[in-house]
């Protein structure tokens, strides 16, 4: 091996690990006040990010527990562990919690909250109180939803399809929708805050095309949050009114049209996929150049691709309704537009790959997550094209193929990137290094466990196993057992970081300001950062990702 930028070597360049943190003599955001009140009333974006992190982890494991029971049930063809009714409530709870309480706020509200102001050289977000309020609103909605799910549950699936949700379901539909409505308000608050911050708070010299791609990605995500979330909110209000007053707008028996509901629901929920995956792309675009020691390839195209995905993402919702009876012509247009989303997505994959080319690559834990993201996102994206094809979708719709496809994007994509980002910025957030070897073990474990869990589901779906049933014909058992076995590996992979990251909080080596020798303003300030992020407002004079390739390592073979 001729790789020069070994992480151990990098660390040698920064202040010795046993020395105290070089934090310019002043206290940092974390140590300035330990009282509970100071946390619950903080306006500091970094502390609010940590509040979000703690809550999101809790919701992740609750949603994961529901998935665990689902996988246990599916280990045998008979429905023997839970009743069909309980099973319906389990996958609904899994979907609702993972989509609205975990995936949507995960990267924006945790990493975005912590990093956006630092990356643009600001002291805080534009509206710090709104930021804190968004966390309280999120917690209110989250706990409310959780209570409604635990005390009764909902059996409609996370999509609340009418007329089942308005006329037939006897479960807590309205309560859960109220909870989701409230969480949506929190998303809008965060999105609004990010948009205004990026427009008005950039440091001198931080032009739009000097913004890190992570900022671009969260900016585009915020636009989707602000424009799509209110549509979901109003749609849920209409479902609630129809359920309460028995007035037809979605129920055909009352003169309404269920297709109208699906249009409105997917107008939000398809862009919501990009709310989950765009920030993940932003994280990967920070990690890959750093550990390849190269400028990101085609920076402007990367930024334009982010905006392209956000814009086209608004125009493809009809591909969820190919078999719902929308007109054939609408289907053809939505199919074409869905294929078009693949163009900016492919640009990003090609550019990440080109960034790696002739780079001096280090396989640190964040890099393993980022590379895992690129691979899994590519598989998830390509299988998305299967589903975007009108004829093929008739065969694949509502099968495990769909389940596998979106888990490749959301778990293989978004969760991998979230974990990669947590590891990458862990030294910045806590001032400590995580144990590198454990980080790599967990990353590899998650990658393997993930593929073992979800790849068999592609095959199951192709062979015709429908989703959302708690029992299935015996010939599907082998693949289902593989999937359940993979899920247990995945569970260990997700639990591991909890332990070694918590350990590193107390015993981890001290990280200097910039343990990865990374570019970007967030690395120019001590770890953990002081309350105002920078001692003096930074002035930006160069393009982002000004990494210099280490020529020697490329030449010596």
């Amino acid at each position: 091996m001729t790789i020069a930028s070994d992480p151990e070597q990098n660390r040698a360049n920064v202040p010795r690990t046993d020395e105290p943190v070089a934090s310019s003599g002043s206290e940092n955001y974390f140590s300035r006040d330990f009282s509970l009140k100071s946390w619950l009333t903080t306006h500091d974006h970094k502390r609010i990010a940590l509040l979000y992190m703690a809550s999101i982890i809790a919701f992740f494991f609750i949603g994961g527990a529901a998935a665990t029971v689902i996988r246990l049930e599916l280990a045998t063809p008979q429905g023997d562990l839970v009743t069909a009714d309980t099973y319906n409530k389990l996958f609904t709870a899994h979907g609702v919690i993972m989509v609205w309480m975990f995936l949507i706020p995960s990267i924006p509200s945790v990493l975005g909250n912590f990093l956006m102001p630092m990356m643009i050289g600001a002291r805080d977000l534009a509206f710090p109180r709104l930021n804190l309020a968004s966390w309280y609103v999120y917690m209110t909605g989250g706990i409310f939803t959780l209570l409604a799910l635990v005390l009764g549950g909902v059996d409609t699936g996370w999509t609340f399809y009418t007329p089942f949700s308005t006329m037939f379901s006897n479960s807590n539909v309205i309560l859960v929708m109220v909870g989701v409505f409230i969480v949506g308000i929190s998303s809008i608050m965060t999105g609004l805050n990010f948009i205004v911050t990026v427009h008005t708070m950039r440091a001198p010299g931080m032009t739009w095309f000097r913004l890190p791609l992570f900022v671009w990605a969260n900016y585009a995500t915020s636009i989707i949050l602000v424009l799509a979330t209110p549509v979901l909110a109003m749609t849920l209000v209409l479902v609630g009114l129809e359920r309460l007053l028995h007035v037809g707008i979605f129920d055909p028996a009352l003169g309404g049209d269920p297709l109208l509901f699906q249009h409105l629901f997917w107008f939000y929920s398809h862009p919501a996929v990009y709310i989950m995956v765009l920030p993940a792309m932003g994280v990967v675009s920070e990690i890959i150049p750093c550990f390849a020691r190269k400028r990101v390839f085609g920076y402007r195209f990367m930024a334009y691709a982010i905006l392209g995905i956000a814009i086209i993402g608004f125009l493809v919702w009809g591909h969820h309704m190919f078999v719902s009876g929308q007109s054939v012509y609408a289907g053809m247009v939505f199919s074409l537009l869905s294929f078009l989303v693949a163009v900016p997505s492919a640009i990003k994959v090609f550019n990440w790959t080109a960034t790696l080319y002739k780079g001096s690559i280090t396989f640190t834990a964040p890099m393993l997550y980022a590379l895992g993201f690129v691979g899994l996102f590519t598989i998830g994206g390509l299988t998305g094209l299967f589903l975007a094809s009108l004829a093929l979708d008739v065969h694949l719709t509502d099968t495990y193929f769909v389940v596998a496809h979106f888990h490749y994007i959301m778990v293989g994509g978004a969760v991998m990137a979230y974990l990669g980002g947590i590891h990458f910025w862990w030294p910045k957030i806590t001032g400590r290094l995580y144990p590198e070897i454990w980080g790599r073990v967990a990353a590899v474990l998650i990658f393997c466990g993930f593929n073992l869990t979800f790849f068999p589901q592609y095959l199951l779906g192709y062979e015709g196993m429908p989703r959302r049933y708690h029992s299935y014909p015996p010939e599907f058992q082998v693949l289902n057992i593989l999937s359940s076995a993979g899920a247990s590996i995945l569970a260990i992979g997700y639990l591991l970081p909890m332990f070694y990251l918590a350990w590193s909080l107390f015993y981890g080596k001290r990280a200097g300001a910039n343990p990865w020798q990374a570019t970007g303003l967030e690395w120019q300030t001590p770890s953990p950062p002081p309350k105002d992020n920078f001692d003096t407002t930074p002035v930006v004079t160069e393009e982002p990702y000004a990494y210099t390739p280490q020529i020697t390592s490329g030449l010596v073979q």
Binding site: A122, R123, D124, L125, A126, F127, P128, I188, L192, I195, V196, T197, H199, T200, M201, V226, L227, A228, T229, P230, V231, A233, M234, T235, V237, L238, L241, L245, H246, V247, G248, I249, L254, G255, G256, D257, L260, H263, L264, D532, T537
Partner: protein, 216 residues
């Protein structure tokens, strides 16, 4: 000119930056609000194309006289709050305060007239779900029309209530000469919100009252 010293929050470098962020934030909020009304407009478009005749027949049962008066009232209130913002900018705080009270009063008048309209609709059995009867051939479409009518105007009224509270709040601060708080930029932003509520009504008025009324 605004002569009082501006309070600048710690995250901002200058008053100009703070003002830009606040105004821009309100515009983004209004974009969100617009999308919040979006499904209702989309539902209307859907109903109008699928139950065209029923929507036409139903719209003839709305109270066009009160609707038109209300449109005038609301447009006048927007003129009042725009003048209030201008007066505050020029330092005429007493005038600004009075104009804000006028705005709130006009907003309240709108709500009262709207309430009278709702009572008529209740008497005429036009409230879907609770009390509804209509010419049998149009029942389904007309019920959806009135469902959308009540949700749209109801949501609009909720927004108007928030606007009234907001204007009264600033008017009372101005009366107490709390000039630092009720500064020109905040009143300008409150006016932006008020205009948005007004603009929504400008779309609701033709949609709910005027379609198919041409020619008797």
């Amino acid at each position: 000119m605004n002569t009082e010293a501006m309070q600048i929050a710690e995250q901002f470098d200058s008053a100009a930056q703070q003002r830009e962020a606040a105004t821009f934030g309100m515009w983004i909020f209004l974009a969100t609000e617009l999308m919040f009304f979006g499904p209702l407009f989309f539902g209307y478009l859907y109903g109008r194309t699928h139950f065209g005749e029923a929507f036409g027949a139903a719209s003839r049962h709305t109270d066009i006289a009160l609707g038109t008066i209300n449109t005038t009232v609301l447009l006048t209130s927007s003129a009042a709050i725009a003048s209030a913002a201008a007066a505050r900018r020029l330092g005429a705080t007493r005038l600004a305060m009075r104009l804000l009270f006028v705005t709130a009063a006009l907003g309240t008048l709108f709500l009262v007239l709207k309430g009278i309209e709702y009572r008529h609709e209740w008497q005429e059995h036009l409230v879907p779900g609770l009390r509804f009867s209509f010419a049998p051939q149009y029942t389904d479409g007309a019920e959806i029309f009135f469902f959308l009518y009540f949700v749209l105007t109801g949501l609009h009224a909720v927004h108007l209530c928030a606007g009234i509270v907001l204007t009264l709040f600033f008017a009372l601060h101005l009366r107490r000469e709390n000039l630092l708080f009720a500064n020109e930029e905040k009143i300008e932003i409150a006016a932006l919100y008020w205009h948005f509520v007004d603009v929504v009504w400008i779309f609701l008025y033709p949609m709910l009252y005027l379609i198919e009324r041409a020619g008797g």
